[in-house]
């Protein structure tokens, strides 16, 4: 045994010699900050050991002072590249846009409205041309190196982006903003290239984050923005980067000593955790093990099966809902089947509708995520805010809506039917009244009616031979559904479930799984017939931005990269409504009615069969920390990978373990 140990030691020592020769190894755990006064992670660990002797994290911080968060984007190849304006920067959701960088306007996902962050006010038009605006900045904020934040920083950032054509974002930004100037220390005047009624939406956060991130002038003006790594980022958020893994698996953040001068310190209060560690543990199995072992406090986007394992093995794990469906259903991009409407037979709306009616949506829901999905009949995700603004008000119209032959396809009973189906499966904790069932499972969907689908297909020239459909030219009808292979598990599973439903009804449907690059490329060049894509997003009641790309002017031939309208679906009424929306203020009541009309056109034409809002299993472990929001305590959606994460930080409190 001793000999064996000696041998293994020898082997590993040799391994060590090889690896230690690496320059990287010699840089491991080097503190990111150049501030020599700040303690290193090791020093902090020593101090904690001296004080309490409690459990330490593997990066040397006291566990009971460290909140550990999963990194959704995974490992990063160059963890030193923090410049958010170069295309290959560290994914911002590794903690950078959640804790360090800040935006002019953020979003409250629960209320579905933008809120000022670095800005103190919203853009106020200076004349009636909608091209000149001014807005105020928050006073009393300071960069994490102590320098005061002023309008000069915002103006510098704007000028830098416009002047530096090499930055990927430059083209977009220059087409939006003509110039910015500081009227005083805290007031900015903006001139836009074209009339603009939604400037705060374009420069602020509406879903995940924003590309316009204000940078400190006093640091950036000395650098070449195209080459500057910004390795030691200085921001206006409540944390600073303390150290990082040179291999890109983790980033450790520490609360600013002057957190009162950060955006969150000023708007919300003191963050609860001294340290926040964003860490990538690897494949899902390892992430679940980490959570079971209380090594990770916040998990991002796991499968329902993993949640089943986790809740059985970790009694302190918590999901969004206490009972079924557990997952949060308010993610802003709904899933469904997207058609390339320029390719026959999918250029025929009767065919698209037939495929919708051949979809056994209840079974698809069960097969995709065990029924833990909220259904959507329209082109907007069924998140709570939009359910109230669009889904519920449109139920009357949907019930009356008729196909060309007078058939009424809408079925209001989806939610109550799902409750019954799930009850039969022994699921506990289901909604008990219709209203609650609708809030959980959605307002309804379209009937599963293969006979009616058959009528529509026959009208389009299809014929049935045995149990298979033949296309109008007599050839067998084969459909390939493009689906993501290694990401967006819900869309991938949805594709298989829908294919199964279609196969049962005589369509030879197959799923083609594709990696990320190929998947997106196929969509944009029109190299698909049907795809499990998600071209229907939105969080704000004014979802104009999410419809603009559907304008017919953006349709290009298949084979060319589409600048928008990747479904290549031309609809004159939709295009004209989009044109009208462009000139309205968000607060104009006509915005809601116009978007409702657009939704009606999408239902009639069905270029995308909307199916489900996205359910995300984003559990937390309450062993070391409390204060996480849930369905009962929802001050924000649990979008740990979004920039609003910083707003949650003052709510986290240690349990004392």
């Amino acid at each position: 045994m001793r000999k064996k140990q000696g041998f293994i030691s020898l082997v590993l020592a040799l391994m060590l010699l090889m690896s230690a020769c690496s320059e990287e190894a010699s840089n491991t755990q080097e503190p990111a900050s150049t501030d020599s006064d700040k303690p290193t992670a090791s020093a902090a660990a020593t101090a904690a050991n001296t004080v309490g002797g409690g459990k330490m994290t593997d990066v040397g911080t006291p566990r009971n002072q460290t909140l550990i968060v999963d990194i959704l984007s995974g490992k990063t190849a160059d963890p030193d590249l923090v410049n958010p304006y170069v295309p290959g920067a560290v994914p911002m959701d590794a903690g950078f846009h959640q804790l360090i960088f800040s935006s002019l306007w953020e979003i409250n996902t629960e209320k579905g409205e933008q809120i000022p962050d670095l800005a103190a006010t919203f853009p106020e038009p200076l004349d009636n041309t909608n091209t000149k605006f001014k807005f105020k900045l928050q006073e009393g904020l300071a960069w994490s190196d102590g320098v005061e934040f002023t309008a000069d920083d915002v103006v510098y950032t704007s000028d830098m982006i416009i002047k530096t054509k090499e930055l990927g974002y430059s083209g977009y930004y220059a087409s939006l903003v003509k110039s910015m100037k500081a009227l005083d220390k805290y007031t900015i005047e903006v001139e836009t290239v074209n009339p603009e009624t939604r400037l705060a939406q374009k420069l602020g956060v509406v879903i995940w984050g924003t590309a316009f991130r204000v940078m400190p002038k006093h640091i950036w003006e000395k650098e070449d923005p195209t080459k500057f790594k910004f390795k030691d980022p200085v921001g206006l958020g409540p944390y600073t980067l303390k150290s990082r893994d040179p291999q890109g698996n983790w980033f450790l953040y520490e609360k600013r000593k002057d957190w009162q001068k950060s955006d969150i310190g000023k708007i919300v209060g003191e963050p609860g955790a001294q340290y926040i560690l964003f860490k990538f543990f690897g494949p899902e199995e390892k992430r679940i093990i980490a959570s079971i072992q209380h090594e990770m406090d916040i998990l991002q986007d796991i499968t329902p099966e993993s949640w089943d394992v986790l809740r059985q093995k970790n009694k302190t794990a918590l999901a969004w809902y206490e009972n079924f469906p557990y997952a949060d259903m308010n993610d802003p991009c709904e899933r469904g089947m997207s058609f390339n409407a320029s390719k026959a037979p999918y250029n025929n709306e009767d065919v698209r509708w037939a495929m919708a009616l051949m979809t056994d949506i209840k079974n698809v829901s069960l097969a995709t995520f065990g029924g833990m999905l909220r259904v959507s009949p329209i082109q907007l995700p069924p998140i709570s805010v939009l359910q109230e603004k669009y889904h519920k008000p449109m139920v009357g119209w949907l019930k009356d809506f008729q196909l060309s032959d007078g058939y009424k396809p809408f079925d209001e009973s989806y939610a109550t039917d799902m409750v019954e189906m799930l009850k039969q499966q022994g699921i506990k904790g289901l909604p008990t009244d219709t209203k609650e069932a609708v809030n959980t499972f959605g307002v309804g969907w379209y009937k599963y009616d293969p006979a009616q689908a058959g009528k529509l297909l026959e009208k389009a020239g299809f014929k049935k031979q045995g149990d298979k459909w033949l296309k109008p030219d007599g050839t067998p009808w084969k459909v390939t559904i493009n689906a993501p292979a290694n990401f967006e598990v819900q869309s991938m599973r949805l594709a298989f479930a829908v294919a199964d439903s279609w196969k049962k009804n005589g369509i030879d449907a197959n799923v083609q799984q594709m990696d990320g690059a190929t998947f997106w490329d196929s969509e944009s060049t029109g190299a698909f017939e049907v795809g499990s894509y998600w071209p229907a997003c939105g969080l704000l009641p004014d979802s104009t931005a999410n419809f603009q790309g559907w304008h017919k002017q953006y349709i290009v031939d298949n084979g060319k990269q589409a600048p928008g309208n990747r479904n290549r679906w031309a609809n004159d009424k939709v295009s004209s409504l989009i044109d009208e929306l462009a000139g309205m203020q968000s607060s104009d009541p006509k915005v809601i009615s116009h978007i409702t009309e657009i939704n009606k056109e999408f239902v009639k034409g069905m270029p995308f069969i909307p199916m489900f809002g996205t359910s995300k299993f984003v559990p937390v472990d309450t062993y070391y920390w409390t204060g996480f929001q849930t369905s009962k305590n929802a001050f924000e959606g649990p979008w740990w990978w979004w920039s609003q994460f910083k707003y949650y930080t003052p709510h986290f409190k240690p349990t004392g373990k």
Binding site: M15, E23, P87, K286, A517, D521
Partner: protein, 332 residues
């Protein structure tokens, strides 16, 4: 003169293989149904606010210029060959722009070398030793047991082994960390300890499975050689079994094993993709995995070119050394 002619022909083969290899590596990613610029735009637009289609077009143009993807494919090819041959520069990584590919490879290579070189050598040494014993003394009980273990280990894919090790030693008996985290600096004890602890499981997954393969192949070779006339003659002369095994059987059985070892050492530049991914090990395998997923042409070309040169180089060296190792092929 014959030797120099032999060497020249092998050198020409080496250059041709490398040239054809890197040419293939240049063109193949470009025939894939994916585009790095589109992938990046898709990633950006799927997460951030809506961008006007005109602005997306403008971003596309900028990225194409930045990534050096403008011009015809022929122009791009000659530019690539010129850069690789004369400046050994693979350009910037497209997915990690503007970080140079050379920098990313430079960071990852020592880790892969450290893990795979040592694991491969260890499994080669252990496997050949066991294979020699079980082939030469096949009637012994221990030979049969060792052979049985090897046959059981060999067919298990190394990534399954890796998962089993993770479950066993990071979950059920949590004595090793779930994910690699290399602490400390240089030759400090903290760093040494961290390297030992974090490399143990990935190394073990490679060594155990690799050893099985070497045992089986060495056993086959040595048992055949043990039946040769000159081995019988040596026994009749009264030489000790140990001497027969080490001086008569081993040198002859080792030749093909040395060849295979050299080829395997050449291929370590590919990294142990799945092992590295599963254990969060920062090597070339992880880099290639990410590069392929993101259509990072330059990084794919950089990593695979190095691998091609390494395998072709290993073959060239073996060809060069073989005449010295085996008199039968000398000057043929």
């Amino acid at each position: 003169m014959g030797f120099y002619k032999f060497l020249l022909s092998r050198a020409i083969t080496f250059v041709l293989v490398v040239f054809i290899g890197i040419t293939t590596v240049f063109f193949v990613p470009r025939f894939l149904p994916s585009d790095p610029v589109e992938a990046m735009i898709g990633r950006m637009t799927s997460k951030s606010a809506f961008m006007e289609p005109g602005a997306v077009e403008s971003m596309r143009k900028t990225l194409n210029e930045s990534f050096g993807l403008q011009g015809t494919i022929v122009q791009q090819y000659f530019g690539f060959i010129k850069r690789v041959v004369f400046t050994h520069d693979f350009g910037p990584s497209l997915a990690n722009y503007p970080t140079p590919v050379n920098e990313l490879i430079g960071r990852a290579l020592p880790w892969t070398m450290g893990l795979l070189l040592i694991s491969t050598l260890i499994s080669w040494l252990i496997g050949n030793a066991i294979g020699l014993l079980s082939g030469f003394r096949k009637e012994k009980a221990y030979s049969k047991v060792l052979e049985a273990i090897s046959i059981a280990l060999y067919p298990i894919p190394y990534y399954i082994f890796a998962l089993i090790l993770i479950m066993l030693f990071a979950y059920i008996i949590p004595i090793f960390p779930l994910s690699a985290n290399f602490m400390g600096k240089g030759f400090s004890w903290e760093h040494i300890k961290s390297l030992l602890v974090n490399s143990a499981l990935p190394a073990l997954s490679i060594i155990l499975v690799g050893t099985g393969w070497w045992v089986i192949s060495m056993k086959t070779l040595s048992s055949g050689i043990a039946e040769e006339d000159y081995v019988h003659f040596a026994r009749l002369k009264g030489l000790k079994e140990r001497k027969i095994m080490t001086k008569y059987v081993l040198p002859n059985a080792a030749l093909p094993q040395v060849t295979m070892l050299a080829l395997q050492l050449g291929s370590i530049f590919n990294g142990a993709l799945i092992t590295e991914y599963l254990f969060g090990y920062p090597g070339i395998g992880t880099l290639i995995f990410g590069a392929i997923l993101q259509s990072d042409y330059n990084l794919i070309m950089g990593t695979i070119t190095i691998s091609i040169i390494a395998v072709a180089g290993a073959t060239f060296i073996i060809d060069f050394l073989y005449p010295f190792l085996d008199p039968r092929v000398r000057y043929k």
